[in-house]
């Protein structure tokens, strides 16, 4: 669909704002609505829009498969690591109170990293599923 001038220009205008909105939802989730899950989906949606307009091969160059797959696992690991850090600092698993002083500050810190993990995993999974579905009909996977 890259021949449609209007679509191309509008997409180029929209995608940065979608990305910024995703980051806003991610980092402002403590204060307003949203959080890691929504942010991951919105970020993935912006990439999907890019893929629909500019084609899948171009998108795969921008965000290669290995990066997506790494993110897919990295988010869960990040989440689990936050829990382990809690143990190392003398608390229970996923205990955020020990992450900072005063304890409420540690809570904020823990929630931030946990949401980060959720966001990364959701972004990776959504994008990976889209890649798999969209790439399937075109050519046999070369891996």
């Amino acid at each position: 669909m890259r021949h449609y001038l209007v679509l191309r220009v509008i997409a180029k205008l929209l995608i940065p704002f979608m990305m910024v909105f995703a980051l806003y939802v991610q980092f402002h989730g403590d204060y307003g609505p949203g959080g890691g899950f929504q942010a991951g989906v919105i970020a993935a949606a912006s990439v999907v829009l890019y893929a629909i307009i500019f084609g899948l091969p171009t998108t795969r160059k921008v965000i290669p498969d290995w990066l997506v797959e790494t993110m897919l696992a990295a988010g869960v690991l990040l989440y689990a690591t936050v829990g382990l850090v809690g143990i190392l600092l003398g608390g229970n698993y996923l205990d955020y109170f020990v992450l900072g002083t005063p304890p409420a500050h540690g809570q904020e810190r823990g929630i931030f990293w946990v949401e980060m993990g959720v966001g990364i995993t959701v972004f990776g999974v959504m994008l990976k599923i889209f890649y798999m579905f969209a790439g399937r009909g075109r050519e046999a996977d070369t891996e």
Binding site: P33, G35, L72, I129, M132, G137
Partner: protein
Amino acid sequence: MAFAVVAIAVQRNLFAVVILSGIYSFLMATVLVALDAVDVAMTEASVGAGISTVLLLGALYLCGGEEAKPMWRVGLPLLLAVVTGGVLVYGTLGLPAFSDPEAPIHQHVAKRYIEEGERETGVPNIVTAVLASYRGYDTLGETMVVFTAGVGVIALLRRRRRPRGEGK
């Protein structure tokens, strides 16, 4: 919404069904906003109407856009659906009235979350506080589920395309 549901059930063209379910998701999101569940509405709008519509269209591209004529009669499934729906509606009669502050669910831990949540976690958004802090294990489990879904899709779809006729 009722119109969208009936249209989804009647429609044979799957492209129209996908678009209608996207519309349904957007309507659902507005309902959730009206219920003051902004976080859920956001999820519904982005996942239900956004990503899943795209994924369904992608699946449609792979398997064709017309639903086959059903080989069975509609009588028994319809009866089953109506009976199940009736039982569920009957079940709701026993629930406390909507937004009743004396309902049992508001007497248990919800009170603590609302009254102490901001002081204990320093996060004004109660949804985030409950999700990431009080219910941290659950959210870890959910993230694992999402991860597993992704891995499952990779495991199922990443293989060389077989010759036609062999099946999937």
